[in-house]
Symmetry: C2
């Protein structure tokens, strides 16, 4: 479904490496690894952000720190887990004390909000990039990409597409400082990992993923992982008013489907669980909406039309 980047493809050479261990419940290939802990399962995720690839070079250090942690918290959220501890590998071209302080402050604020401790750090010299690893517990059933069943509903949190719209605002010096785009920009600059929602959905959702590559691309990961088709309803896939205002309705709809970096949760749940899903959303103070259904077949569809690589693809902002 998704137009995987060549870097995604090459990542396949890393699957099934190292020893076989009985305590590895799920290795490479989902949002996080699932490991058999002594009591509860452990969840672990690691993501690397590279300047100019995963964030603009002029993004303030505090928001880089926020983002580096947020994308990993989002991976744990997509598994329905409780993030606990983070380790950081920070590579910097020069020992810029002010930058590191601001970076650490941004990371610190988000970590505290989610009761996550930074337990290890390594600062080295080199081109700017940040690797963060987050580990945590699964206190209930773990959500995976596999598990969606025919007849399930498809849901998404928040407003996918806003992050890509916000990035475009950020990159336009004539618009960046305008108050009217503040909310849109914030969707890109300060993504909010849906940790509380993910935990509330454990035991309710049948499958979940976080929206990093774009809604259709990530729904495609659930479709492939679960061996089903995802049928989206165009009428339910409404971009936010602010995204329509910024891009116009047509481009906003396209961005909702193919944008990325939203770090919202896309998940499936049996129709009988509608009330439980809405209760989980209320309890976690996270807006969710039903955007389609799980069907027999393969791929991602919009009102009966198969979505192609162009509409569904991996769209990194620097591509």
């Amino acid at each position: 479904m998704a137009r995987a980047s060549e870097f995604d493809l090459i990542g396949r050479y890393l699957a099934d490496r190292g020893a076989r261990r009985r305590d590895v419940v799920l290795g490479v290939g989902d949002d996080a690894a699932i490991l058999a802990g002594d009591d509860r399962p452990l969840l672990m995720a690691l993501d690397t952000l590279v300047e100019g690839v995963h964030f603009p070079a002029d993004l303030p250090a505090g928001w880089v720190g926020h983002r580096a942690l947020a994308v990993n918290l989002s991976d744990i959220a997509a598994m329905g887990g409780e993030p606990c501890w983070a380790l950081l590998g920070l590579t910097l071209p020069e020992a810029d004390e002010a930058w590191v302080r601001a970076f650490a402050d941004g990371l610190d604020a988000l970590a505290r909000r989610h009761a996550v401790a930074l337990v290890g750090g390594d600062v080295t010299r080199g081109p700017l990039s940040i690797s963060v690893q987050v580990a945590g517990h699964a206190n209930g059933p773990v959500l995976r990409r596999a598990g969606a069943a025919v007849g399930d509903r498809v849901w998404v949190s928040g407003r996918p597409g806003d992050a890509m719209g916000g990035l475009a605002v950020w990159q336009d010096p004539t618009q960046r400082d305008r108050r009217q785009w503040r909310g849109l920009q914030r969707a890109f600059i300060a993504p909010r990992p849906r940790v509380a929602l993910g935990q509330a959905l454990a035991g309710i959702a049948s499958a979940a993923i976080d929206v990093s590559d774009g809604l259709v691309a990530d729904a495609g990961h659930i479709a492939r992982g679960s061996g089903v088709a995802i049928a989206l309803q165009a009428a339910a896939c409404r971009p936010s008013a602010r995204l329509c205002h910024w891009l116009g309705d047509t481009a906003a709809r396209q961005t909702l489907l193919a944008g990325g970096d939203d770090y919202e949760l896309c998940f499936t749940a049996p129709a009988a669980a509608d009330a439980a899903v809405l209760q989980a959303a209320r309890a976690s103070r996270t807006p969710v909406r039903c955007i389609g259904a799980v069907r027999a077949g393969a791929g991602v569809w919009l009102d009966g039309e198969a979505l192609t690589a162009d509409t569904a693809g991996y769209r990194h902002f620097s591509d």
Copy 2:
């Protein structure tokens, strides 16, 4: 004691960040973090290697993969733990399939030798760097930098200094292919993390660290962490015959003290535990030697002379 790099110094801004959690036994500041697991303690370490900073740009991909895992296994070894799982963040300038295959093969071979599974991977575009995180269990008492007591003996495994000597061979095109330097080069190219020794020393050693910054610099970390002085005996700090052959006796002795990237273990243990230390070394098939004693005071000393930043310093190969 050690001449810390400005990057080490700036890392201090990352200490004590994020939430306070009761399950964090030891955070930033040792070889690995210690976390209260449901039953046994969990150990976690993350290190980043940057091309041209932590390894030469012409090092074959397989050895880069070996090294990226080895430095992290060494951190777990220094805590006396059992490494179990690794996550990888690989950043590459181009999607070079042959390079990634060879890299993965090198990492895979070392992972299998230590029964470690690669459970997560992320390949992104950017300047070549590798972040690996390793997590594992402590099955006995955890070794820390703190814990050395006055009267303890100071021990080191293997042949510190050989790695820096081997790097110099690697960097000399007229010598690189000579058979006589093969062992010396191998000390740099294929460091062997002392995982079995570390586990065997749990409950015996009073403090431990892996030798990455240089023997004196890392002994200095134990001295500071334990609030003691480390008194080395020059007669016991004998460089290997091959290092003396390559560098001459004087430079070899200096390299033994101030070189780095050895990934040997430097540890302390009560004098009454001599037999237990030697039994742990035999059981793990790792050569160890006693090189000094723990004294009241501070810093690292060689035959009564305080070692200065010049002799003790952080010596990265690219500095």
